[in-house]
Symmetry: C2
Subunit: 549 residues, 2 copies
């Protein structure tokens, strides 16, 4: 290649890491490579066989470095790229996924004296050992009248860094006595690569209670546990860098291991879901990115801070530099359709799908298409996993009303799609009402690629154009965008993330535009949805919480 | 046989007639025989090809006599019975199923001049041509402030005799100008057999607006149509006989045709559903008979007249002589379970049922048994066909609340069974609150024989012992009971229907008793059912009626 300029993104997921090499300025993906973590997710035992309690989910930090080296060398080889072709590196990571380390960055679990201590290992995001600690923290903050929790919908999640750190302290104090830092694995990887310690403002803001101008006040922390103020002060970060800004340059020994040039800028890390924002080409306010997976994750950039009640979080530079990041969620999205496929798809339909060599849900989509918009005869509250936004109530339950003898499986299936779209509309309307207008939507994730009926329904129900991102790897591409922005224009990258995102993400693969007739039909059913939503979700009746199981 | 005493019952259903010969006094069924009507249900054309409008359902009266002769001769032959062995005859019939006849009883459709006139034939119960007439009548009676409609839940059904007669008058006036009577096919058959014209008080009371002491006043009838008072006066009956009382004795020519003795007492006819009351051995107040079919039909005898709001009808001697007859209904019973089998039984379960050679619903019953009472996590409003009692609202719809990702098909199936049982409990409680205590329940019909889990749930939910009638032919047996009672003690029958019913119906085939633990568990869920019932059914929200289709 003649003087190619490339950006490298590495996406650290739950089971594996994936590297992606993208060409500047046109966004052509030249190579991708995936590598499974050698120890995977440790839920039952440590590598030496030490058994783990229930609800534990640990990882080995060395796995990240091994996967990094393997995947980067592979994409470089595959693209035929030379060390100086890569202008910048970005990484995204699952969060909150913290570990305790020494002053020089050595993970405690790699010291022989701590090898058998579960609390010395990486606590993966889905490690759920800190139930009691989360409850203690939330009670203490509530009693202290802590206002800042409103940014997070009023309560901390047991997956976040405070509960995990407090759990470690209470269960294995000697780990945190010995540790110099307790930090996100993403920050640790960047520290390894650059030799400089800092914190990505994304995970720190969304999962680490970093409030932009400090941590919560000591007297509030003390209420939860007298040791907490000291732990926060001693173990958490003090310097923060937003994604798309360089956290440092690549150390010579890592340049050697990866086949890259020393000093290559490394962006501050970004949470994997949030990386989808630049990965979908969004670098400015007004465009919402929705990851349509088993659940739905809705992200927006904003120029001002608004305390939107009932969303998952608002964080300064939590997604990209120079903006507030807003995040909301729908607890069941793909899960709804998977539930139907497993529990409600009748034998006759299954047989028809088999005969025609169709996936069963594709057959359902075909049959549901024949039902007119808003004419299923059913209304669905999509709360199979409770409600994440705007009600933030995990105890809410799914509801279907309107059954009669003529109700067919395609009516129920389409009503589930419509219910999920109504759930999204509630979030969009809510953002809009709080001064955050949503002009367009870009989707990515499992459903976005497959269920075009759902995307059309989403367009009709929300009255917005729904784009599908060009890439299937929005997270890894988003990380590469951050790398290209961190490089800056002078070094062959981009002056800011917005421009990098627009250039590298490219045009949407498909766009679904609202159709007037369908919009009007849905408007009527959405009114019924909201009646049920408010009756069962806003205090009319708490019946859903009283159903015995 | 040495001097056997037998009772003969003939059940005229929608597609066929069935005769049953039962031994007095022990109730042993000696023979049954079924014969399909030669012309069946005419929905598209008359026998000569004359096409029929939509919603028509006609029959040929000659079919009844043919089926009567065939089935009676067959059971006599099969039982080896002689003419004088049969002490009494009873018949039950679908209703309202009227026809126009001449003074000598000749059906108008049998005259050449009327053979091509659809309105001259028998209008089967499910003939739905009188939509407008029913609306006119109900509007007129409402405007006139007619109190008597309260006995029928406030409105006439389009299947009843007034709408059908008015439809005939408006569409084909020359039919009713020529006719001497417009009467139930059941009354016509009894007239044929005995040579005496009378009306069975059961159909007259439940479907014919016979109020016990007269028809509705002329000024009310006139409001609906000026011709109506004259039609009622000229064409309907003036002499009424309750089931279990003799309407006459068998004419010699019919004795000859049937192989019976001349003069054998013939009971006044009874509606087929109502025949199940004596057929289940019930001849006294306090015991409710429920026919568990596609829908549920609940019948009770009472010593006093109570205007129970929201039931289908209260009629003096409407079921058995000497009592008020009360009838209520659940619009979806077996229909609910059939809906599930057709629309919601997943392929994996269907495959398992096939492998184990089980009917799919038997497999569902087995799996649902493993779920604890009241612990499905779901609450179901069983309104798949609307609500017949107590709300009398056909526009209500089914509802399921409580879905989560762990909701399995067996949870939904069991919740449907529980919802149907809650629906029954509402009716029982309602009777009780209006001074009609229900001490025991006897069931018959399709579900009663098959779904023992549902019967146990019904016992636990209602707190009553649920018996299953010994016979599978409760209607035909009930007709035979009426025949035995009509014979009277002197002629080898019984002194009254209660004693005939107890003797001939025998002990229940099975009995399900309430279990304390389950009762308590259901009590909790029933409370939730009633919250939903009242919210959606009693004015809290009319959302169910606004769901577009």
């Amino acid at each position: 290649m003649n003087n190619p300029r490339l950006a490298l993104g590495v996406d650290f997921g739950t089971e594996s890491a994936r590297a992606l090499l993208v060409r500047i300025p046109d966004g052509e993906t030249l190579a991708t490579s995936t590598f499974l973590y050698s120890h995977g997710v440790m839920e039952e035992a440590l590598p030496d066989g030490t058994p783990l309690p229930e609800d534990f989910a640990l990882q080995a930090p060395g796995d990240y470095l091994e996967a990094l080296e393997e995947t980067v060398r592979e994409v470089m080889r595959e693209a035929g790229a030379g060390p100086s072709d890569v202008v910048g590196i970005g990484i995204d990571f699952t969060a909150c996924t913290p570990l305790p380390v020494l002053r020089d960055g050595t993970p405690l679990c790699e010291l022989p004296e701590f090898a058998k201590e579960p609390h010395a290992w990486v606590k993966l995001w889905k490690h759920h050992g800190a139930v009691k600690e989360a409850a203690d923290l939330n009670r203490a903050f509530r009693e202290a009248g802590a206002k800042w929790t409103e940014r997070y919908g009023g309560a901390l999640n047991l997956e976040w860094i405070f509960p995990k750190m407090l759990e470690t302290w209470r269960q294995a104090p000697r780990v945190l006595e010995k540790a110099h830092r307790f930090l996100e694995a993403s920050d640790w990887v960047v520290w390894r690569l650059t030799g400089r310690e800092s914190r990505g403002s994304c995970a720190a803001g969304y999962k680490g209670c970093w409030l932009g101008d400090g941590y919560p006040p000591g007297e509030q922390l003390e209420r939860a546990d007298p040791a907490l103020p000291g732990l926060v002060d001693r173990l958490l970060g003090k310097e923060f860098v937003p994604p798309g800004k360089a956290a440092g340059g690549l150390l010579p020994e890592w340049a050697e291991r990866l086949g890259l040039a020393p000093g290559t800028p490394v962006s501050a890390p970004i949470i994997d879901a949030h990386a989808a924002v630049p990965g979908c080409g969004v670098g400015e306010p007004g465009k919402m990115v929705i990851i349509l997976g088993t659940s739905g994750c809705h992200m927006m950039l904003g120029e001002k801070e608004v305390l939107v009640p009932g969303i998952q979080g608002v964080v300064w530079e939590g997604i990209l530099p120079g903006f507030y990041g807003y995040e909301a969620g729908q607890a069941a999205m793909g899960d709804l359709f998977a539930w139907f496929a497993k529990n409600a798809l009748p034998a006759a339909y299954s047989a028809e799908a088999g005969k025609r060599s169709l996936p069963p849900l594709s057959l359902m989509e075909e049959k549901a298409r024949a039902v007119s918009p808003g004419k299923t005869g059913l209304v669905v509250l999509d709360w199979w996993n409770g409600n994440r936004s705007i009600l933030i109530d995990p105890e809410l339950k799914g509801l279907v009303v309107g059954f009669h003898m003529g109700t067919r499986p395609e009516h129920l299936f389409r009503a589930l799609l419509e219910g999920a779209a109504f759930g999204t509309r509630v979030i969009l309307d809510h953002f809009q009402e709080h001064g955050l207008p949503v002009t367009e939507v870009v989707t990515t994730g499992g459903i976005a690629g497959k269920n075009t009926l759902f995307l059309q329904i989403l367009a009709d129900v929300t009255g917005r154009t729904i784009h599908v991102a060009r890439t299937d790897q929005a997270c890894a591409l988003g990380a590469a965008v951050c790398g290209a922005a961190a490089a800056g224009e002078d070094r062959g990258g981009f002056p800011d993330v917005a421009r990098a995102a627009r250039a590298l993400a490219g045009a949407p693969r498909a766009s679904f535009h609202p159709e007037e007739g369908a919009r009007a039909a849905y408007e009527e059913v959405f009114g019924l949805y909201m009646e049920l939503h408010d009756h069962f979700g806003r205090g009319g009746s708490d019946l859903m919480k009283r159903i015995p199981r």
